[in-house]
């Protein structure tokens, strides 16, 4: 980092502080203790009343009811726990499940109604399918091979025209693919590297991604770097787009040795450490829709959330 950039970062950090931006952790609540089963990948439902998570190996889905404080397994399908989504009404879960034919991996996209646990398949046995992103109107968009596909879960119909209009991005073999107005663009903002943990900002004007071994970045849709977050793994936009929550994990080449959860203002002005425990290795955080909670897992299988208070 040259001196000019460093100075700007310092000024930004001071400004953030001076303007009173802060996140305070109020308390932490354990949802699943991970003693007999080892859970992973938690996320909140859009209405904030449920936490969806999976078991080690991403097999099956569980729902934790925040009001009743009960946990229910809704399916046991392989791969279902890898980046599933809720529909906006929080009544359905969209997930991908994997199948192997001659050891070749095929994925199916399914929608499951939480109330009766009924599962319907949107697409079956597709090579190189991405997890689905959910839009405002019960419509999902996902990568299906080389195409971008869309589907409305309430009308139960494919929306190819909608897919063509949607701004959508995903990772394909070490590079970012951004589809805008039906035009597919290959983007390598940081040159030849392994790009991972890609997401668009809620207003779809910015890209958030990590370069394996090279840090996490926020860029515009053309790939121009706006914020360098440094080591910020598994980053997630806050629903209002003002914050990024992420993990800073450490390993010894074999196993995880430490990890804590941090949050950063999406303009890079502030970084806040949210966990600092000796016993737990906190990983893979996710926001609640009201931004009053952050749910996370620990290495070894515990699911917990922290109540937070954001001062803007």
């Amino acid at each position: 980092m040259n001196k000019r950039v460093l100075t700007l970062v310092l000024i930004g950090l001071l400004l953030g502080s001076a303007l009173g931006q802060q996140i305070d952790v109020l308390k932490t609540v354990v949802v699943a203790d991970g003693q007999s089963q080892y859970f992973t990948s938690p996320q909140f439902s859009p209405d904030g009343t449920k936490i969806l998570f999976s078991e080690s190996g991403f097999k099956g889905l569980w729902l934790y009811d925040m009001n009743r404080k009960t946990t229910t397994q809704i399916n046991d399908l392989p791969g279902a726990g890898y980046e599933p989504s809720f529909t906006k009404d929080s009544k359905q879960v969209i997930f991908r499940t994997d199948n192997y034919i001659k050891y070749k991996r095929y994925s199916s996209l399914a929608v499951q109604t939480i109330a009766d646990k009924q599962i319907e398949y949107i697409a079956k046995d597709v090579r190189f399918m991405s997890p689905a992103s959910v839009l405002e109107d019960q419509t999902i968009v996902y990568r299906k091979g080389d195409e971008v596909a869309a589907y409305n879960t309430s009308r139960k119909e494919a929306l190819q025209a909608k897919a063509a209009q949607e701004t959508y991005g995903f990772i394909e073999d070490e590079k970012i693919i951004l589809v805008v107005d039906g035009v597919r663009n290959e983007i390598k903002p940081m040159g030849d590297n392994n790009y991972i943990w890609f997401s668009l900002s809620p207003d779809k004007t910015k890209m958030l991604f990590t370069v394996a071994g090279g840090g996490t970045f926020i860029t515009d849709l053309a790939g121009n770097v706006q914020v360098r977050l440094g080591k910020a793994n598994a980053p997630k936009w806050s629903p209002d787009g003002k914050w990024i929550v992420y993990m800073v994990d450490e390993d010894d080449g074999h196993t995880m040795t430490a990890s804590d959860i941090w949050a950063a203002a999406s303009d890079g002005a502030l970084k806040v450490r949210l966990t600092e425990t000796a016993a737990d290795i906190e990983m893979y955080p996710a926001w609640s829709p009201a931004m009053d909670r952050i749910v996370f897992e620990t290495f070894g299988g515990k699911i917990a959330y922290m109540n937070i208070e954001i001062t803007d």
């Binding site: 080690s56 190996g57 050891y103 090579r127 073999d173 990590t210 290495f299």
Partner: protein, 844 residues
Amino acid sequence: MKTTSRILFAFTFAWSFLTAQDLSGYKFCIDPGHGGHESDDRNMAYANYWESESNLSKAIHLDSLLTHMGATVVLTRHYNGDDGNDNDPGLSQRAAVANQCGADHFHSIHSNGYNGEWNYTLMLYPGPTGDPRINGISGYPSCPIELTIATQMVNQIYSANRTSSKQTAGDWTFYGTGRPYLGVFSPLVVPGTLSEGSFHDYQPETWRLKNSSYHKNEAWAIARTFALVFDSTDFPTRNLAGIVRDAYEKVDYTSITTDDSYQPVNQITMTLNPGGKVFTGDALNNGYFLFDSLEAGTYELIATANGYYPDTASVTVGSSFFNFKDFKLISNVPPYIVSSVPTAGFVDFPAWNPIVITFSRPMDTTLTKAAVSISPNVPLKFKWTGTTKLSITSDSLGFLTAYTLTVNNSAPDALGHALDGNHDGVGGDDFTLSFTTGQEDMTAPKIVSNYPIYNATGIDLYPIISVYFDEKLDTAALTDDYFLLLNYPAGDTILTTVQHYYVGDRSVVHIVPQQVLTPNTIYKPQVLAGLKDLFGNTMLSKKLMRFVTGTQTWTVTAIDNLEAGFTDNWWTPTSSGSTTGVLGDISTARALNDSVYFFGGTGHASMQLKAGWDMSSSAWLLREYLSGGTPRNVTFAAANLLQAYVFGDDSHTLFRFAVDDGSGFSGHEVSPWTTIDWIGWKLVSWDMTNDTTGTWIGDGTLNGTLRFDSFQLSYNPDDTSAAKTCAIYLDELRRVSVQTVSAISGSTLVTAESFKLHQNYPNPFNPTTTIAFTLPRESNVRIEIFNVLGEKVCTLTNERYNSGYWSVNWDGTNEAGLQVPSGVYFYRSITDLGVQVRNMMLVK
């Protein structure tokens, strides 16, 4: 994969053979483990080896193989060291790369490390052993991919690397956690495996893992696994690999196979016919070569290297995919002497030790033996170990004498090459070895036993603390300062009288407190390092003893101080009719002696008793009878102790007291026999209440008033150590009344200590430090120093020690006497009681 990397690592062999395999449509994520040249990037400094580098090299070879079979390959890392962004991505990032590229399989490439003495192949998959994560949907078997690939790949890599064994396990089980352990498996949504191909800290393997072709053969093993599993086809071609080693020269590091114990040959040239393919080896001490993509058939393989005779072999590349042909080349340089014991110019070489000459290669043993001479000339005896090591001994080597041993140039090796005695690369000159023998005795004096023994309890308050040596000490260098008595835990020094005696060819030193000791208190006598024998050999260890006093105080009444009056009061031994089985010459006698007397008693004389036992007799008894005078008037009771100081000669003569408890023949009772198995002074005490009585002519019961009758000696024919003569001294014959101290104040009794290796002091240190240890009983003790690489630096001691506290010093030098670099060192004690390790720091 980066285009630049592909160009950089492109192979030169033909790819046509791979057209039979079709992995098109499959996607593999290959993870070269570790990276960054950091603390977790396992480095073997002696070879400038980093695990990350060999992992990446294997991955790049594998990328090329899989790509040419039509597969799509994504690497999680493309760079080593400080190069590139992704020289060391985190484990969570590597898994994310696999997840987001949609791989059919993820494989992480590693090598293993443990203690430098293992070299097996390990395959791991996520989950418990035998029950990997379930990735198949209902109706499909539990993730057949991970188990199938792990089982297949461990066989392939084991075959390619020729490791000692193979193991397949789930990471939850292998690491004993029962839950997710490997950080690269835990976030993985695609099937995954991890190979530890071999052990990079096993030094022969370290060097092989420096060789790119060795990586390539392991890459072939992984690629073959994918071909067999995903495409159900095998490669039509075969690989031929091998290692070229010196036929005789051994490596100086640990090897677990006979082959690995031989030195690999560098910069080999291997030629394969027909076809004239040539492989040029590296200079990285592995001797490795590889020809891949061969048609099955019989080939002529020629191995050449500078300094060696070429060798040719006919090799059939047959049914197995991995074929091997190893060579052992014979050096064409003349034989030379690799090492000698003693080394040139060595002084103080023990004259009784063998001179050992180690040749660089097998010798003509007959002609070589004939070529050996020594000046000054003495008769020599020879013994070969194999055909490279010659041990030379002589019963006639003088002490403190300069010798020159010569192996003249007529000594040929087994192939007839003349000896290169000066090791200049040209044969035909003599080897000469000059050394000087040491003195007759070159071993430091050793404490063989002591009284009281370590941790003894109930010791009287007036003890003779005795230290027994295995040889004579040099009295000129012996002062009282070497012997200390301290109480514990106060650490006060107790004033003592120190007395040294030669008895036979040994020394004994007595330490007698000048005050009555405190009851029920721990005392720690010490013998400091520095005592010398008559040849100047110095004892380097400090000896710490330990005992606990009892609770009895004594009131002493003299019977006879044995200073004079023998003629009036004591009969000569042979005057007693009870004396039998002794020789009637001067060997049996009683005398007043004023040179050996108990120095802690009264006067400066003692009674000497000598016995010469008649071996033709069937019974032996010497009775030294107190016939009258004042001593005879001293009476005592069975409640008393009867005591005398006895200066022993370790003759195993039997000794006892006799008392009169009445008149007449039956009024004589005796104590049990005591075997005189000590040298120097010892208080012999008969507790007439608690000890038994012996068997003689009395009724075995002590009745009424007692008087002293006699000292008695005997020969024990059942004791193989019993001498036929003895000469002992007696002093301070007395009766003792016993009182028990009822109040135990400030008790410091502690339980017996177990074996303990103490922390060295000082630490950190420069240039010397002391390593102490405590033994609860006798044991052999070997203390070795190791550096942080696990290499042995030196052995400090390797001998038997009796119980007690001992210490040895280390001066920071290795076996060769060279100063070692500063840093952390480990010292390990191996005893009959267990092994303990500690570390220490040498600073400069």
